[in-house]
Point group: D2
């Protein structure tokens, strides 16, 4: 059963010298995001350029903002069709059956040095039976061993540092979960999203692992409902899908407000799903390496 | 004037338990690589899967090798059409005019933490006039400040570590050059290639920077002729275009032999070009952000 | 009951250009090392300089070796008086009662960045009741979580890296144990020693923690008997008590052989002690900060 | 000619739970610090414990502060006898003639991983003629290559990171200078001091290198007069001589004010000395390894 959500964000900046901004805040155009209606308002009213990344469908737009205040406001309404499965029925895909085009999500990346964490991951999770529940075990480990703590990390914090710090925010939980998956030869990628039930409301970051021919959502923070996530972008790690990347100028950061609620105004569901939640129908080439 | 080259490699392994190998050793199918004739021989004769990365045209193939010896032999002949320009006529592309689809090459990656090197790059190269010659200055700096030294680095060495070690091999020179470019907001990417005149013969790594609407070749090592490079792959850094990536098994590495010579058998040219060498015709969307 | 041991080592080098060597291989002159008889033979017969570090009693000697082979042979016989206690009776010393002269052993050092590991240590061990058994819990954690594996680390490996690598040798176990102690505000230091029962025979590294007014021995590797350790040196970490430090020349390293057995030739005791083993009588100023 | 200085500091804290503080703010008792008159006032009036480190003469005191405000005020007057020499007459001490008791100042330490910086130091300074002027060249390099910039570093920044960041404060300049010296096998140590002419007034950090049988002062920041430094402490690096180290409690940091002026009220001298400034008479064992 699809549920309708209203969501959006307002981002404020004070541009000191003309600056190019690349934004990635719009709801991705996916089969599971149906009936998307949206409005983007940029003040001042400047020209924007658009680009949608092939395959992964991230929607970027850029503006060349003149000096002065800049406000970017995004509002959307979307029906979220959740693809569910019984976790016990989802096996890992043997590496020889992985499609070659998802190989990049097995590789180490800027904030996910999975090559450095290989011994740790094998030592901690290598003995577990392959399958969806092994990734659940990784998420439980993250929840039990890493403190969710604002200010414990910064925008340069890597997954191996989070392991030492034993603390971080959603970005760090996602990076570490991805690192463990890749170290175990399970493709994994970073997901930025609007999250229903996140408190306080903000952009959220979770991760996806590739199992049984498609991508499944995981969240070691337990901060939001897996069946209430509306995807913005996916990428190797946070470097690829910052919601705002400024280039070539000087900028003062102002307020960021993010909201998400049900369109019918009904309150948040109390219970969290224990279903496996997939973000995509199986790709046609799944299972055929 | 196009010149014909003969090139190839032979890679030997002893597979201890069945292993998936992904190889990236074949000449990329580019406009500048004309008349490509090639032969790939895998012993034992096992099935292979192929994937060509969209946009960047890297050609990957994978095999699921059984236990025992594995030999991969690649032979090719190709005519290399070199695209030349006068370095003084190649400006940098202002960040507001960069196409959004090359944004990934501005971002930090596993071995190129350009975010960490931003202050260093601006301090050392920020005052130079923008343009092709600024990247040449970066290459000169690399040549003057980093020792080309086998064994000084390993497969986990990052660009910031190379800066401390003051030594490395072609991979490290490329990573550091890319890091400086990205820190200066110039898109840059890693290139693996066959290199005419490299001594001893081996795979080579150089980098490309995006200037004036297309990609140009740079090599801080001065080990090979820029106008004798035949591209295998491009990527964010070495993580993406290893010539061989084994997964899921145990492998002993044997010999790697690489060769490249002129088809007509004529000896290496003595002089090195001082032209700017581009690897691509300008993209249709170049200059339109 | 004191037991007599015979021990020693032979170190071989080939000196390529004249080199200053500082050695720290002789048995420390401590109250618990009684009846020490020893012989040091240097070939060729060159002059040596001696220095004993105040307070900690490490015995250093240096030689300025000419080009050619160098052999250093040390033989000793010593009666080891072991100071035992019931672990349950040994409390931690509250920080306000620590003598100021052991403050250096609370500080981070080259291979023990305890400041970086503070959150990890508090998260993992902070909830345990203070006392000797908390340090035993740290050693058990090391034994359970870190693989003893030659070649997993090198001479630049730090305690935080060992935590990521999940593997190391005695030096790394000691560094990590020290890091956790210091992070919990328990003074701790590195100990190099001859170890009875170590197999294969080699120099060994363990650590000491300061509890209840004196230093106690701990070993997370479980490789040797705590009541059969003859101390060579103590220091902040391995940087301070390398058994051999060459300066100012070029040296090829040859064989290192180390031996330790009981003087009466009786075989190794099978059982390991569960007593708390201290290396020193309480200092006169203990307990008076 | 000795000059009289008045100096001091006031340190304010709010202690949330009882905390042990170790302070190192008092003028060291050295031959060059003559006629020292001083007053230490702690509010509330709590008992303090004292310890002077052997050899290096650092004066530490500790207090066990109850919850509530804590103020530590130190006032002193001292006559500074400056020991000068002509830089061109000060050779390096060959490593074979270094006294063994200064060996610790050749070793890597927490914030000075000189082992990691060996290649860099040799590459940049190895070709220079040994002697005082080589250390001056290191200081000039620091001044030319590192930006003095508050906030660029933090209390965990190491010398190799400063090299990447290309920015830091006095502590970082000192760490990097020490690292280069040690990497060149020149003993070097960290110095905390009151500095005449520092603007704004604050604690200062410089470094000492051991040349020709004694210690000489160096400062890559050029922030203060070398002949107006009154030493507080020396150590391997900043880890050892923090002016305030709290243990075992929770503390809010308040204001730190530091002052230093001439006793006769005369204004700061305009010119900076170009003399070599030593902090100690030659040790009796200098030159005899």
């Amino acid at each position: 059963m699809a549920i309708w959500y209203k969501l959006g964000c307002t981002l404020e900046y004070f541009v000191q010298t003309p600056t190019v901004f690349i934004f990635n805040i719009e709801v991705a155009r996916l089969q599971r995001h149906q009936g998307l209606v949206e409005r983007l308002t940029i003040t001042p009213d400047i020209e924007l350029n658009r680009h949608t990344a092939p395959d992964i469908n991230n929607r970027y737009f850029s503006v060349h903002a003149p000096a002065g205040p800049l406000t970017v406001k995004y509002e959307a309404e979307v029906s979220l069709e959740v693809l569910r499965a019984d976790p016990n029925t989802v096996p890992e895909t043997p590496v020889e059956r992985l499609p070659l085009d998802i190989m990049p999500f097995l590789l180490p990346s800027r904030f996910v040095p999975s090559d450095r964490l290989a011994a740790f991951a094998r030592r901690e999770f290598g003995y577990l039976a392959p399958g969806f529940n092994r990734i659940t075990a990784i998420c439980n480990w993250l929840y039990d061993n890493i403190d969710y703590q604002r200010g414990a990390s910064n925008e340069q914090t890597t997954a191996d540092e989070s392991l030492i710090l034993r603390a971080g925010v959603c970005r760090d939980f996602a990076h570490l979960g991805i690192a463990f998956c890749r170290a175990l030869e399970i493709p994994a990628r970073f997901v930025s999203c609007y999250a229903y039930g996140l408190n306080p409301s903000d952009f959220h970051a979770v991760f996806e692992a590739y199992l049984d021919g498609r991508w499944w959502l995981f969240d070691g923070t337990r901060q939001a409902n897996l069946d209430g996530l509306v995807r913005i972008g996916v990428g190797r790690d946070a470097a690829e899908i910052a919601f705002c990347s400024p280039f070539g100028g000087n900028v003062q950061y102002g307020d960021v407000t993010v909201s998400m609620g049900r369109s019918d105004g009904s309150p948040e569901l109390l219970g969290r799903t224990t279903d496996a939640i997939s973000t995509e129908e199986p790709a046609p080439n799944a299972g055929a390496a």
